[in-house]
Amino acid sequence: MIEIEIDGKAVHVPDGSTIMDAAQQTGAYIPHFCYHKKLSISANCRMCLVQVEKAPKPLPACATPVTNGMKVFTHSELAVKAQAGVMEFLLINHPLDCPICDQGGECQLQDLAVGYGAGVSRYQEAKRVVFHKEVGPLISMQEMSRCIHCTRCVRFGQEIAGVMELGMANRNMHSEIQTFVGRTVDSELSGNMIDLCPVGALTSKPFRYSARSWELTRRKSVSPHDSLGANLTVQIKNNVVMRVLPRENEDVNECWISDKERFSYEALNSSERLTKPMIRVDGALREVEWPAALDYVAHALKDIAKTQGGEAIASLAAPHATLEELHLLQKVTRGLGSGSVDFRPRRRDFSADGKRAGTPWLGLKLSEIKDLDAALVVGSFLRKDHPLFAQRLRQLGKKWNKVSLLSVGGDDPLIKLHAQVTVAPAELAVALARIVKAAAQLKNAAVPAGLESVEPCADSKAIAESLLEGDKRAIFLGNAAEQNGQAAQLHALALELAKITGASFGFIGEAANSVGGYVAKALPTALNAYEMFAQPRQAYVLLGVEPELDCANPQQAVAALKQAALVVMLTPFKHGAALDYADVLLPTTPFTETSGTFINTEGRVQGFNGVVRPLGDARPAWKVLRVLGNVLALPGFDYDSSEQVRDEILPAGAEFVASLDNGLNSVALTLNAVSNGLQRVADVPIYFADALARRSPALQKTSDAAAPAARMNAATLAQSGVADGAQVRVKQGPGDAVLLAKLDETVPTGCVRVAAAHASTAALGDMFGSITVERA
């Protein structure tokens, strides 16, 4: 520790700290633009100049390491004069357009100009003009004359997003922030550059000119998208959500959010919002009042339960539903005498059900990731499935270079990887078994039963070695592993590997409430999410699911729904396909219009309140289910608030869920023979992953929202007799889709990568099933 004095206050800071770090401890404010605690130091704005005793001239606080006995003056005459001088230079070329600037009111340059700028400019000459740039649908670079060249956006790309898309071209007064030859910024974290920009050079395209920052009310919320549960600040005006920003929580999302979380608010005000209950009368959906709709649903469900037995009813929820909604859905379903309730529509293999030791979770706290010595991720499209989780691993990869990825798609995770192994989905379990066996052999431990015939390869040995070194290591199963046909085997294998190596093990989690669903016991005692469609039921209650896009096998799901006597959908949106098979549409609210709880992947309980009033006649789903319980005269539905529902599930005030355990009882390892023929590899593209992202116009214009293609490597293309760029018909069972064939060498041989969750592929079957390709 080093002792220094800042403005007369003594402070102890660790060796290697800068004056800026020390000042933050004492609470002394040093003005700055280019400095950001999460980015590297560049010291190019010079705003943080301070006086240091015995130094002949002012020094930049962000880049000056402290030394013992240093005396710093942040507001001495010399320091203030230096800061005012820098400010005068910064303002020379900065336009005076604050009244029409989107950043006005939340601009660091504006704020600091009040404190350090002069009232009148001494500069008489012409200001420089920088042409606007076009970088895609999310970031607006219309007024680049405002840029003060702090390079925060450039460093963010290099260090946090992992891909340098913006750079500073040219030299001195001709410097300009731009992309390479006018390309777009495609990173899934790009929106954070808007927050980082201290001036109005980078602004949010969807938000531009829609409100001033001082008109907005800030409300806390929690992201309903991926399993991280990023903390959000939702800004509203006149009961409309205008913008979503990150709310800093170092343990969860640090100070970032992904573009999906930032821009999908546009869907909240979409014209597709369902605002009135609808019932099918004489073949057409008609708007009705709530009492009529609920009476109709209750009678119809009771009728079916009475005449055909409770098991004729099945309920399916999206894993994005809140804890309270999931709890009440399973309660209603069980009250009707059915055990067929589930919240995992994309799963294929349920053989771990009933054998789990507790609630599956990440296996460690998110904040512990930075202390890991090595990590292995199995079955994940990491960047697109979990942008911020990938960001944490990226920082780890930079530090230790011991992050490995075993997956079914060879996408570049933009992480410095130790090893990357890409295999067909059916071979994922065997590939993981190789690592298990390699680890057992390296450690001279007993090889688990069932792996006798497995032969470790060079890659699996390298991965096993990395998992045996260091103190803290972790194994993570991603979405593609959980959705795999051998999910339970992968689970059991990963447990074996964790046991042998001493690493922690966990699931990254598919959605906002993947842990919450287990806690709410929205789990089947009869038919699971796959079986309820494979063995068609008479009645379905769907909560927030869009079956043709959200199910493991949309073809089968839609067929089952079409034959059912009653399909009740609780949904915020009325979408095209549902209008074919839904009998009742009940308008429920998205996360901004309801209170509720999400439990993130580390088991953190995060409650939130509604930030705006429900749109039209839409009502929070927990209220709808409560009233439905009342109308059905089921016992125990006398709740006054969502907190009462939560308290029934969790002990009051719980910060973390208690029963977290990834253990598995009595699952024997049996490695199945690899299937023949072409296999489908289905990723869930980031901006089709949930109902909100699907309806955000800005996100739908990004390159990540491009229509799916049939991607194959050269060998598979040749084997199928199709050329790169040709139209092909891909078939699964009775359904098909016509797509463009695309050469992609990262797809394993014998596989065709066809994305799920898109209307053009909704007629296809299993996400990782067999598939055929022919010329269209």
Partner: protein, 157 residues
Amino acid sequence: MLNQNSLTRIDREIAKYPADQKQSASMAALAIAQEELGWLPSEAIEFVANYLSMPPIAAYEVASFYNMYDLKPVGKYKLTVCTNLPCMLTGGVDAGEYLKEKLGIGYNETTPDGRITLKEGECMGACGDAPVMIVNNRKMCSWMNPEQIDKLLAELE
């Protein structure tokens, strides 16, 4: 994009740095690419960037920072006149003006026959020889009074 000779030369530059820091060779590699192609089209910058496993924009930052990289086509001969302070005080600006008049073009322009491009340059580190100019980034010319300039122009066929 580049011929084998250039690639061999770039490989030799890469070998001077640690294997995981290939981008250290970016300046040399861009110069070699420019030597072969005459100038640096964005395709060439991207090619070099990919060859050195660096983002294209990072290579573009380098190419646009330094004066001697040409991001637009130039004539057969590129004449760069130093107009920094020591040269300026010793006739550098006059030398530039003389060339402009003689060639009938301004700075950053090329003669209609595509022979000579005139550029304004930064200090070339030979202030004692002022005014200086450099031909095609390689051949340094000292004490460039009008007679010397005429002699130089006569040589540039």
